[in-house]
């Protein structure tokens, strides 16, 4: 799941350099879409998760229009704002269950089958999103995004349609995150503003992307896989808060010592050894 989320975040965050702290909002949109569809209308999530993605994409389009015009820090703050405001809004909106959350009956299969279905679905999604990221990176779209990251003004003067590219990356990332959220909503069978909009998840996404390396499709994959494993280990054996402390520290270390990610750092080390 985190692979898909991180790859989708990276489209805007790593390729284009626009760090969004609010990606979780799109994920939550998808989760809530599934939740509402399941609880009110009884539609199976395998039909609705794409709808969740669509809603997330629409949200991104609406929000992106004003927000993508902002640069650097202001954009990040706005994205954080998006996630928090949505959380507050959902806490008070009866249609999505306000502060009691939405609980609904999952498809009646055994727990094992449930987990397996979830795992398979996430695996498929992860592969799909990674492939999308890979294709984007190698396409002209991806190059345009990279140009934006390097120097947006120069990119503009070169004739690259920066607003449109940013918007595409944002919407695409949002759509994918929403789809992931759709499946997640089904698996958890309960959504609530506090847990679905978790800031902790935003931290993890950021960390996985930066750790693995922002600029490519392989970075988030590596970061997500490695750190998910570590996360599970620490949470199970030591404690949830300790794992978050560890992540915070790791984030600081990564950004100071290997801002491009683990892979380039390792390559650098190996190259130095050979020379």
């Amino acid at each position: 799941m985190y692979v898909a989320l991180t790859e989708s975040w990276n489209l805007l965050g790593g390729y284009a350099g626009y760090v969004s702290l609010g990606h979780i909002a799109f994920f939550a949109t998808g989760a809530y879409t599934t939740a509402v569809c399941m609880s009110r209308y009884g539609i199976s999530p395998f039909a609705t998760f794409l709808l969740g993605g669509v809603f997330a994409g629409i949200l991104a389009a609406l929000v992106g229009f004003p927000v993508l015009r902002l640069r650097g820090a202001y954009f990040t703050i706005s994205s954080l704002l998006l996630a928090v405001v949505m959380q507050l809004a959902f806490l008070n909106w009866e249609f999505v269950g306000s502060s009691t959350g939405l609980w609904y009956k999952p498809v009646p299969v055994s727990i094992v089958a449930n987990r397996t279905i979830f795992y398979e679905a996430m695996l498929l999604l992860a592969i799909a999103v990674t492939l999308v990221a890979r294709r984007v990176e190698r396409s002209r779209f991806g190059m345009g995004l990279a140009a934006i990251r390097e120097d947006e003004d120069v990119a503009k003067t070169m004739g690259i349609n920066t607003p449109w590219l940013k918007m595409k990356a944002f919407i695409l990332g949002a759509f994918l995150a929403g789809a992931v959220g759709g499946i997640y909503g089904y698996y958890m069978s309960y959504v609530h503003p506090d847990i679905t909009f978790s800031m902790n998840a935003s931290l993890l996404i950021l960390l996985m992307a930066f750790f693995g390396g922002c600029g490519t499709w392989s970075g988030p994959l590596l970061g997500a896989v490695a750190l998910s494993l570590v996360n599970q280990l620490i949470v199970t054996f030591i404690g949830a808060e300790i794992s978050r402390i560890f992540y915070g520290l790791l984030l600081v270390v990564v950004i100071i010592f290997m801002p491009d990610g683990v892979l380039p750092y390792m390559r650098g080390l190996l190259a130095a050894k050979d020379a």
Binding site: L70, A73, T76, I77, L80, L251, V252, I255
Partner: protein
């Protein structure tokens, strides 16, 4: 937002539609008091952003830390938070200096200091928040010195003493910071570095020392603000993300780096809070504030009161 005591509100039943003048005034006054407290919370943040281009997302978490430290001093040593404030501020300054050396200074070498500092301080914030949560449990705490529950009465209007003291702390601290920046040699050095780093260095001002002092001062002010906040609200480690939002709000509305700007923005926001709390359901206050933030971000990102 949770509150220990809703400031300025004596519980009297008021039928809707019969909103008395004194009620509105109470609301506005308590909003203004609150606004100044938010202003103190944001002054330090604006300072580091303006001087060093460092977006210290961890600023609010240090405020919470300050609140916790004041709480523990109050509980263990029975020393009133106002009295322990100078000591607390000095301690927070030291903590700020350490954090600067460890996590912030390496980041200033990065290509994109703003981004890198944001990510790094995001990490620091997480670490500190969870350390507090781990050692001190995530339950809400309240600072309850002797005077916190009572109210002052001016004519028909009651003003809760807690927020009043918090506001007093803020005013004094903001004044101190302003005095430091504009009247002392070191403070002027800070301003010089902010306006023109190269020029300041040429004039013999040590940029390293300036950065260290600025950051330490920023964290110290955060700690003081935390104490002020604690006079009004209950606090717990996770509230730092909510406080961070208010820091953003005040700083962006007030203009990055300007002390007076932050104070004015705080007053404006406080006023808005007061007015909307008097007339609208509670939750709409936040909506209005964030809408304001969005509008300012889109149309005047340098802030309404930028110098």
């Amino acid at each position: 937002m949770e509150r220990a005591t809703k400031p300025g509100r004596v519980s009297r039943f008021r039928p809707r539609g019969l909103i008395g003048m004194s009620y509105i005034l109470e609301s506005i006054i308590s909003g203004l008091l609150l606004g100044l407290i938010y202003a103190l919370l944001s002054v330090g943040f604006g300072l580091t952003w303006g001087t060093m281009k460092i977006l210290n997302i961890a600023h609010a978490v240090f405020a919470v830390l300050g609140a916790f430290l004041a709480y523990w001093i109050f509980v263990k040593v029975k020393l009133d938070p106002i009295l322990s404030l100078p000591f607390l501020a000095a301690l927070m300054f030291l903590i700020g200096a350490v954090v600067y050396k460890l996590a912030v200074r390496p980041v200033t070498r990065a290509k994109d200091v703003v981004m890198a500092s944001m990510v790094a301080t995001f990490g620091v914030a997480t670490v500190v928040e969870n350390l507090m949560s781990y050692f001190w449990r995530p339950d809400p705490r309240v600072l309850k010195p002797v005077y916190s529950g009572s109210s002052l009465f001016i004519g028909d209007i009651s003003i809760s003493v807690g927020p009043l003291i918090g506001c007093a702390i803020s005013l004094c601290s903001i004044a101190l910071i302003y005095w430091f920046l504009h009247r002392t040699y070191t403070g002027k050095g800070v301003q010089a570095t902010w306006q023109n780093p190269t020029g300041a260095a040429l004039a013999g001002i040590n940029p390293e020392r300036v950065s260290l002092i600025t950051f330490g001062l920023s964290i110290a002010s955060a700690g003081a603000a935390g104490v002020a906040m604690a006079m009004v609200y209950a606090f717990y480690p996770a509230v730092q993300s909510v406080w961070t939002l208010f820091v953003f709000l005040v700083t962006i509305v007030g203009g990055v780096g300007s002390v007076i700007g932050s104070a004015l923005a705080g007053l404006l926001i406080g006023f808005i809070i007061g007015v909307s709390a008097a007339f609208l359901p509670f939750v709409w206050t936040n909506v209005i504030l964030f809408a304001l933030l969005l509008i300012v971000l889109l149309f005047k990102p340098e802030g309404l009161f930028a110098t």
